[in-house]
């Protein structure tokens, strides 16, 4: 079955390498495995994008978090779950979404900072997100006493949201309307709280 005399086409090489990886493969790793040039790889990927598009295939090419990965088409997930006899992992809680939102838009930040923004102790939620590989300690805040760890989102998180990078999220101001923000101020003003005086800001 081998046509060794005939060099396999670039797209075939990329396809074969993608099949044997369950993890994202970066472009440079794809290049060094296949021996393709930048341009050859790009045109091979362009072809594969079409071949493995959600409309035309049960296997899709995902390009997320700066890497490439073959995976099943979500439209076929019921058949896959039946085959593997396992249920889809439960979706995250509302609290978990909020913690991830903090890490993505305000991070890297400490556990304390997450809890301050959310107004509730978030330790348990953070731990479960670390356990699920969606959050990771990326360093430490050396200016704070005890140098608490700084938390950020992981590549797995980017992959799970289908994002190609951390920049691939809408600006926060497009998600919340000025009207909503005004309403907050209005409500507070009408509740007759103490006159403002300078104090520490939420970090």
């Amino acid at each position: 079955m081998r046509d060794q005399d005939q060099r396999p086409r670039p797209a075939h090489l990329v396809e074969a390498v993608l099949l044997v990886s369950a993890r994202l493969i970066g472009s440079s790793d794809l290049r060094s495995a296949t021996g393709l040039s930048d341009q050859e790889l790009e045109s091979a990927l362009a072809g594969l994008r079409e071949r493995y598009a959600p409309e035309t295939s049960g296997i899709v090419l995902r390009e997320v978090a700066g890497g490439h990965l073959l995976s099943t088409n979500p439209a076929c997930s019921a058949a896959v779950e039946r085959f593997r006899r396992e249920a889809r992992p439960a979706p995250l809680s509302g609290a978990a979404h909020e913690v991830l939102a903090c890490a993505l838009y305000l991070g890297p930040l400490t556990r304390g900072a997450v809890s301050r923004v959310r107004g509730v102790n978030s330790e348990a939620v953070i731990r479960s997100l670390i356990e699920r590989n969606l959050l990771v300690e990326v360093g430490a805040d050396h200016d704070a006493p005890g140098s608490p760890a700084l938390l950020g989102v992981t590549d797995e998180f980017l992959a799970a949201t289908g994002a190609s990078s951390r920049k691939d999220f809408p600006p926060v101001n497009s998600l919340v309307t000025q009207e909503e923000l005004d309403r907050v101020h209005e409500r507070l003003a009408s509740s007759g709280t103490d006159p403002p005086d300078a104090g520490s800001e939420p970090s």
Binding site: L18, L19, V20, S21, A22, V60, R62, L69, L70, S71, T72, P74, S77, V80, R84, A87, R88, P89, A90, P91, L92, S93, G94, A95, H97, E98, L100, A101, L104, G112, S115, R116, V117, R118, G119, V120, N121, G146, P148, A160, T161, G162, F169, P170, V172, L175, V176, E180, L181, V184, L188, A189, T193, D194, P195, P196, A198, G199, E201, P202
Partner: protein, 241 residues
């Protein structure tokens, strides 16, 4: 934060909220046990549902009103407190200064933004769920894994110095997570309605509590419906629609 004992005058008061439906007393207990986020509880709706069943002329009408007002006030205080800075373990003891209106507004604004981002993330995660990766992987060469001994020491320090809260020794070890129980519940109701009692009949107290929380969160996301014909009566879990 503690609630005054209700004297059970409200034992027949049940509430129907998005996040919870069932006896009001249980709602209070769940909030106190941190199994329900106070943020998720719309206090205005709570008051409105009480007003609907208020019985001013009844023999214990005044007692009921007082009990409700007392617990509702405690909920409001609790909810407002959660908006002020969480007390850090390391900064405990530092005087908690009251927030000015401006600071409060800023904090709420920031929280509102995070809330919206969280909703966006939820949709995105749902949209991208159901991708399964290739099983045709090849193992990297043996012996190519490097583990940093410093990372192992650091991990030991983290794991061994962690304060685990809340203490649940008296309840036995936690052997399942909320997610796993949610999975068990999904499987159980796939065949039709099932009572909470039979679902949890062979679980210990801790797992029953977690199962209840899991059922609530599934109900909240719309995967199942919780019904209870009478206050403190049997609770039935069934698939939504």
């Amino acid at each position: 934060m503690t609630f005054e004992p209700l004297g059970r005058s409200l034992s027949d008061f049940t509430v129907e909220l998005d996040v919870y439906s069932g006896p009001y007393e249980w709602l209070l207990a769940l909030i106190l046990k941190d199994e329900l986020e106070i943020f998720e509880v719309p206090l205005r709706e709570l008051v409105e549902s009480y007003l609907l069943v208020r019985r001013p002329g009844a023999a214990n009408g005044l007692e009921r009103d007082t009990d409700f007002a007392g617990s509702a006030a405690a909920l409001i205080l609790l909810k407002s407190r959660t908006l002020s800075p969480a007390i850090d373990a390391d900064t405990e003891g530092i005087e908690d200064e009251p927030l000015s209106a401006e600071e409060l507004a800023e904090r709420l604004t920031e929280y509102l933004k995070i809330r919206r981002v969280a909703e966006h993330l939820k949709d995105r995660l749902a949209l991208n769920a159901g991708h399964y990766v290739s099983a045709h992987t090849i193992a990297p060469r043996q012996g190519s894994l490097r583990i940093s001994p410093d990372r192992v020491s650091l991990a030991a320090r983290q794991a061994f110095s962690r304060l685990i809260e809340p203490p649940v020794r008296h309840l036995g070890p936690i052997t399942v997570t909320l997610q796993q129980l949610a999975g068990i519940i999904r499987t159980a109701i796939a065949g039709g309605p099932i009572s909470y009692e039979s679902l949890t009949s062979d679980m210990d107290r801790m797992n029953r509590a977690v199962a209840f929380a899991a059922a609530l969160s599934l109900a909240q996301e719309g995967s199942l419906t919780l019904t209870q014909a009478e206050p403190l009566g049997p609770l039935t879990l069934e698939p939504s629609r």
